[in-house]
């Protein structure tokens, strides 16, 4: 018998092992739900799979009585739009700030302390100021997401820019490159895959801010729906919505990873 340290599961048992805890959790849920529903058939806390299925098929497959919309898809579309826009803005800002502060020592000295402070401020606490500045429309929701994750991305990109071997910057200069050329041709392309990584890492926070933003003033969106139905504790809607959010987050994450591998085949292949 090999040491536990050296035991490698086969491909097949790897999949099985991975599914095991998930199946267990599902089982525990089903049992708990059954027990509660047996005690009170109207209990709302742990709905059965059938109840959740009903609720979601009603929202996804039947037009809403009042608005005629397919609520589930409208919510998904609105939320994704806000999230992606917010993340896109954060990524662009973060890239530019990170590139400037990470490559130009003068900028770095000027903005690093500010960035550190900004990244530590809890943005949710300053919502009122955000509203005044950005109004109440889509803009403020997108802005909350962007403001929430830009400092993180900017700091990450800054650190990554500083990690690029100085030898490359010197080499470029010996080839005649000026500052702008070094930034655009040497640093920027190498920061792109790192930007994708940073975006992946900050997607979780992005969802958090999205849900928080949609709770504030909104007429649709996944976070809006969760907050709304919380008023009558419709866990049969909340749980599938949370699961759906998790799935979307997972797909987005994998998509970004795939893009990164696709577009930047040289990334993560060790220093050369």
């Amino acid at each position: 018998m090999k040491r536990l340290l050296n035991l490698q599961p086969s491909r097949f048992s790897r999949v099985l092992l991975g599914l095991l805890p998930l199946a267990l959790i599902l089982l525990v849920y089903l049992v708990a739900s059954d027990l509660r529903l047996a005690a009170n058939p109207d209990d709302k806390l742990l709905p059965s799979l059938a109840q959740m299925g009903d609720a979601i098929s009603r929202m996804a497959l039947e037009p809403n009585r009042r608005t005629g919309e397919y609520i589930f898809w409208v919510d998904t579309f609105s939320s994704l739009q806000r999230l992606l826009l917010g993340v896109l803005i954060a990524a662009s800002l973060g890239l530019v700030i990170g590139l400037l502060t990470g490559s130009l020592p003068l900028f770095g000295a000027g903005f690093s302390p500010l960035l550190t402070i900004l990244s530590l401020i809890p943005p949710l606490a300053l919502l009122p100021v955000l509203f005044i500045v950005f109004g109440l429309g889509e803009l403020s929701k997108v802005a909350l997401i962007a403001i929430g994750i830009t400092p993180f991305i900017a700091r990450d990109i800054q650190r990554r820019a500083q990690e690029i071997p100085v030898e490359q910057l010197i080499k470029a200069q010996t080839l005649g490159a000026n500052t702008l050329q070094v930034m655009i041709r040497v640093l920027l392309p190498q920061l792109m895959p790192r930007l994708l990584d940073a975006v992946r890492l900050s997607l979780g926070a992005g969802w958090l801010f999205l849900i928080a933003a949609e709770a504030i003033a909104s007429t649709d969106g996944l976070g809006y729906r969760i907050f709304l139905v919380r008023r009558y504790m419709a866990m049969d809607v909340i749980i599938p919505y949370v699961a759906w959010i998790t799935l979307l987050a997972f797909v987005l994450d994998q998509l970004l990873a795939w893009f990164s591998r696709r577009l930047y085949p040289w990334h993560g292949k060790g220093g050369v």
Binding site: P165, T174, Q181
Partner: protein
Amino acid sequence: MLEARNLWKRYGDKVVLERISVSVQEGEFVTLVGTSGCGKSTFLKLLLGTETASEGQLLLDGQPVRDEPDSDRGIVFQQYSVFPHMTVLDNVMAARAFARRGLTGYLFGQARREAQGAAMELLHKVGLGHALKLYPHQLSGGMRQRLAIAQALLAKPRILLLDEPFGALDPGIRADMHQLVLELWQSHQLTVFMVTHDLKEGFYLGTRLWVFDKLRHDPQAPDAYGAGITYDLPVGKSDRQTLQAIQADLKEPQHDIQN
């Protein structure tokens, strides 16, 4: 062409180089050897302009060398000398793009086609003609250094600095690289400074060999004194005794196999 006048380099209290006075003519091939940490790379950095001397002067054609890298002085490091995110062809074309004073460092249209032609010609010359579309991480160490050299040459530097360029290569590949460097040195009429760990490499390649070592030594304060050039040999005139004397100094293993 290049002249050092009583050059000193300190980092804080630590003296790395001291009292270096030397002059080099256009077209010389200087190899630099010395123990690890004695300041060879630091000397190259002074030549390159990424470090400035604490004292003394370093003159190029009578003018102080510029205090930042420019296209007069090319460099090849042991590592990180090529751009990992560009293909072999792009790496060399980038050198062309940088040479024109554009804003972005990208080439378009006619300029691009021209650069491509020149780059491909050079790449064929250094034996990378079959690898144009590969990324550096797909190349072997030797191919990578060939690429780095090709790139450096395209900027037509007057001085080429090589900091242990072959330190990480296999012996067989190293021999090919020696050939390449010697050819390019002659055909481009370069002035070359090459740091190496391998004394024999230094003897074989250079027209002139510098040995860096401490001139004075204080066991109590190892940082108090820096290194200078202890030997400055016109290679070819040196004999076996000199080599052995230097080997003894540098504590190179003495046990050659019996032959």
